[in-house]
Symmetry: C2
Subunit: 357 residues, 2 copies
């Protein structure tokens, strides 16, 4: 990550959810920002919500952020490179190989173009859903090629930092394989699961809980946008889908055979998978550490311990009580985030608890 | 729904996430509550967090809530009916036909038993994750049989209301088909999607955004619990899985053939599916209504309109601006929740805006 500031003026082309949010983040940071869209209402709404100016265009932008739908991405990047011959040009598209291929074919690929892809979105679309902090703590792929200008890469990396996101440098091909797995497949699966609801009597849907809402939330995304994304990354998505279909076959067989062990093994692979998703800001999954406390065997003691731990601002992830009838107290093992263990130990000691290594 | 109060004392058998949360809701409401678990730590933790007493058992509970894992549900319901011959007995299990079958087979089925299933849960388990408001606004299936005592049905319905949930009466068979679709299939699909992450290089997982987190969140649930749920409802789940597999085949083919139209059609069915999920508290999906406002053609006017709408506490779902060069103002159409439209109209009129029908 660079500490350099984003150089303005910046022109954002496309005032949808992502474009408008980038424009709002730039304006909030004091960067001279302009927003343009073929839908002038969208551009006006983005500007009115703090996304800069929609009435004028900059003469000579230092940076152009192309935030159009995937179908026209290559053409709009080419246009920006041509119209503003000294500007750095980036984009926020969900697929990265295809626009590079299009630019190369058109002889328009320039060392001033550095691709980008913020891993933020919403089931809502358009500038009304935009927010300056949409990218806070999110990964943002920065997709450069060996021939890219160093200054262009720095400018795009500075944009990522300004938006509060974490820059993840990778090649276009690597990016497309990665997002097939962490974004495009989940979207498709959410859509297919939601589509299954169509066959249900309404009174059955009354039993919908938070689980099905979470699993299907992103399925509400714009089908015209997602059709473009999925077809532009068809090979990588298709391969993963085929693999998932094989797993489904295995579950169908296991359920039919009443093979509970095999079902559990598949579910355990899912638990393992969720543990691989890095924490926000790219941190590693939570590591736990045990803090052991002697607790007198009297009513309310355990409740007071939880209350004191809560007052110390520490989340208890698990608890185990060691009952020894020969002692007048029990040993309670509190599992907490490793980086909170020392602080919890101090806080509990201060409150009069006997804390063991 | 009944306005009757829950009659105590209540014994909750099983101090996991659901049992402990029920005990906490009962205790919060002033009902004399006892909690028991073969894991005495779990019962103690539940009690210390406000779930009643874990040290004693009531002599003659009016209601027993069985909240054990599915595998032992039938046996524990039978035990409660036998041990407390005048108590109403309910449970919170995810599958409803299987325990009834077991009770009938054992000659233990009683008119005092009324099944239940709150549609609330978490990827976390155990009493540390419990909360008295876990069920707030959630559906809670009340599964009675024609021969059930009216008083037993009323007592269970009162428990649902006390927990802040919405009682949904249905038969055991209907319930099991419904939850296969709105709970068990989504859980399996989340697990399978999460399992696909296992094959990815860590640097690819750095691109994980909110979408994949939401889709896979419930996959973190306990595999031993879910194996029991899925195998107890194998036929209904298997049928839906097979249907989903056919849909995946169609997507794989469409992507391979570059048939974007067909991909969009599948995605649109997903959008339609998400719109079928009722709002919390069982309300219908959001209906929209348009409020039209004349906005002077001057800088900042649109921003002021959004700000005034926000001050009125109304969420704008969509906006359209009608540009007419012959007029000195534009007509802005704000789409808002139908039941908020009149209030927004009044609020904007009061603030000096010209609001049209």
């Amino acid at each position: 990550m660079t500490a350099e500031a984003v150089e303005g003026p910046v022109l954002v082309v496309g005032a949808g959810l992502i474009g408008a949010s980038v424009a709002m983040a730039l304006t909030r940071a004091g960067v001279d920002t302009y927003v343009r869209d073929i839908d002038t209402t969208a551009a006006q709404v983005a500007a009115s919500r703090g996304g800069g100016s929609a009435d004028r265009l900059p003469q000579d932008p230092a940076l152009v952020v192309v935030a159009t739908p995937p179908d026209v991405l290559g053409a709009e990047i080419a246009r920006a490179l041509r119209t503003y011959p000294s500007a750095v040009v980036t984009d926020v598209g969900s697929v990265k190989s295809e626009p590079v291929r299009q630019l190369r074919e058109a002889g328009a690929l320039s060392s001033r173009y550095v691709g980008g892809h913020p891993m933020a979105g919403s089931e809502r679309s358009g500038p009304l859903a935009a927010a300056a902090d949409l990218f806070d703590g999110r990964a943002w792929a920065v997709v450069s090629r060996p021939e890219c200008d160093r200054a262009a890469v720095d400018q795009v990396t500075a944009l990522v930092a300004l938006c509060g996101a974490v820059a993840v440098p990778m090649s276009a091909q690597e990016h497309d394989v990665a997002v097939a797995r962490v974004s495009h497949l989940p979207h498709l699966i959410a859509a297919l699961t939601a589509a299954q609801l169509g066959g249900a009597p309404p009174e059955h849907l009354a039993l919908s809980g938070q689980g099905v809402r979470d699993v299907t939330r992103i399925a509400g995304g714009d089908p015209r946008l997602w059709r473009q994304i999925l077809t532009a990354n068809a090979a990588a998505v298709g391969a993963l889908l085929a693999s998932l279909r094989d797993d489904i076959d295995e579950v169908v067989e296991s359920l039919a055979a009443g093979d509970a062990e095999r079902v559990e093994k598949i579910l355990a692979a899912g638990v393992e998978g969720t543990s691989l998703i890095p924490a926000k800001h790219g941190g590693p999954p939570l590591a736990l550490q045990v803090v052991t406390v002697a607790v007198p065997d009297q009513p309310g003691a355990l409740a007071k311990l939880f209350s004191d731990a809560g007052a110390a601002g520490v989340n208890i992830e698990d608890v185990r009580i060691d009952h020894d009838p020969a002692r007048a107290f029990g040993l309670v093992e509190l599992s907490v985030a490793a980086d909170a263990a020392a602080g919890l130990g101090h806080a509990l000691t201060e409150r009069g608890w006997a804390v063991h290594g």
